[in-house]
Amino acid sequence: MKLRRENITKALEALTAYGKVLVPTDEDGVGKYVPYHDGVELDLERVNTTLPPKDALFPQTQKMYRYKTGENAEIEEIIDADEQILFGIRPCDMQSIVALDAAFLTKTYVDSFYARKREKLVTIAIACAASNPTCFCDSMGVEPGAAPAADVLLVPTAEGWNVVCQSEKSKTLMESVAGILENGEDSPLPAADPWLKVNMEGVPSTLAGMFDHPMWDEICRPCLGCGTCTFLCPTCYCFEMAPENRGSEGIENRHWDSCMFSEYSRMAGGHNPRPTGKERVRNRYMHKLTFFAQRYGMGLCVGCGRCIQKCPVGMDITKIIELTGQEGAV
């Protein structure tokens, strides 16, 4: 099947019958996913959005439960699980959902807030025919021309996209756009070949032995602890839970948190196991490249390049990978 470029609006409108359709757009220079509405300007040229799509599954602020205090105290869970279609997600970000699935849905407990949203989410990915200077997904095991975990894959062609259904979930969705798609396929544009390359071979295990390596003293020095990297990272999933209290009632929310903040691990009484930037920077990079792999069998960096692009002081995860590789080669 294929979709012509001029029919995209028609297709998105048809999809809104199924649920909230999130589409990439540009708002004042910030690429992000917004609910599709009349007149929204799609931005399908941008390789990946400035803000990652993780908000669809793991909102920046999620209401968890309502409570009342006092004599008639009660706690009532807030169920928020509408049908959502994520349109235009790129292969790197699709891999980030695979990693989030591992974190939230496996290893003993299932996170119900995430699970409910995940079940109702349909993903329509667009393969990349172009890349940013900071893209290095292929080095992290992601194919720019594929997104095996997506429900539907759109492969760019000169006229539009070839449409590949990849899951059971996609079938109902396809019925709603049946009259808009056309039969046959056009010849696909070649998949992007990112310019930035790193060699990840052996890095997770080499880095595991570098906890006390002197390189951390150097690496952490420029870091401001601003948290931009964790905010923009499609796989950063740390959160904190806090009440929003109004007299004798309120709502318990969970918010994105950042391991780059000193408060994050500071205990009551003042002891902090990660008291300086060195420990915090080390923990973040080791979590991305080693700890997550040890626990879940996959890396937590998908090579989207956002943290490299937006870090105000030029911290660069590919440099850590390179340094580790050199250490491993010695």
Partner: protein, 278 residues
């Protein structure tokens, strides 16, 4: 590992009531908690943790120091915003409780062994859950030694257990020390680690269970090694800042382990495998 079956959301607390508050020391209180219909919220294993919240104020992770048929109990030291508020609340107050979380003390692995329980300050709270379990299953364990120290006589927690209940138990000895003596105190004066060495407990067929402030734990680990305890014979608990309790929110990791899920109980042999970041 398989996904844990839970018919409730592990991140949403249940409403409970505080049915009893005891002032243990000037800055430690124990809070006895049960559900509004008089049940205990759950049946934890010794050493397990629970999130206790004062709705609208905040939530904190605490060890469950004791349980009976219809209640669980927390011993909490006043150290911050939440614990200050908990110390100010009256009996009958509503709290949120969720859990239990984490692994537990090796109550089965310790069967048939002599037990050496070591606590410092509020660190007796988690150890007490195992001590009570051992007394409830007295025939399963050999002789029991309990070494406990605090800053002063006034800072000793659970005085009824220390001076009345536990010394009456068969084949059980209490060794209590205070950092600073006071008029009327006839027991040992001095910090825990040297007293531990002075008591010269035999490592033979013995398991040591240790909990207290980090400096005490580190010194006791050295003392126990000197006394001939192997790394497998020493069990301790780690404390990190925790929030979700289910290994998701991220902050309590030490390397690839989460203290709320893979801990809080670790043998010294397991500690040796973790990065020094706790």
């Amino acid at each position: 590992m398989t996904e844990k079956e839970c018919n409730c959301n592990p991140l949403v607390p249940q409403v409970c009531r505080v049915i009893g508050i005891t002032q243990e020391t000037p800055d430690v209180k124990t809070f006895r908690v049960q559900t509004p219909d008089g049940q205990k919220p759950f049946s934890p294993m010794p050493g397990q943790l629970s999130m206790l919240s004062l709705l609208g104020v905040g939530e904190g992770m605490f060890s469950i120091t004791a349980q009976e048929e219809d209640w669980i109990e927390f011993a909490i030291k006043k150290t911050g915003m939440l614990t200050d508020a908990l110390h100010e609340m009256p009996e009958g107050e509503t709290v949120g409780v969720r859990g239990p979380y984490g692994n537990h003390f090796p109550v089965d692995g310790a069967k048939g062994k002599n037990m050496l329980f070591i606590g410092g300050g509020i660190g007796l709270a988690p150890v007490r859950s195992f001590i009570r379990y051992a007394f409830e299953h007295r025939a399963d364990y050999g002789k029991i030694d309990i070494l406990y120290g605090s800053r002063s006589y006034g800072d000793l927690v659970f005085k009824a257990d220390l001076f009345e209940n536990w010394p009456k138990q068969p084949d059980t000895r209490l060794h209590i020390t205070v950092d600073r003596g006071s008029p009327g105190w006839e027991g040992n004066v001095g910090v825990v680690p040297p007293y531990l060495e002075e008591c010269a407990f035999s490592p033979e067929n013995c398991m040591a269970v240790l909990c207290g402030p980090p400096i005490m734990i580190n010194m006791c680990l050295k003392s126990l090694a000197k006394m001939g305890f192997s790394d497998e014979q020493i069990v301790t608990t780690l404390e990190m800042r925790m929030q979700c309790g289910i290994g998701k929110c991220g902050r309590c990791n030490i390397g690839s382990k989460y203290v709320c899920l893979d801990g809080p109980v670790f043998t010294r042999a397991e500690l040796n495998e973790l990065p020094e970041e706790h």
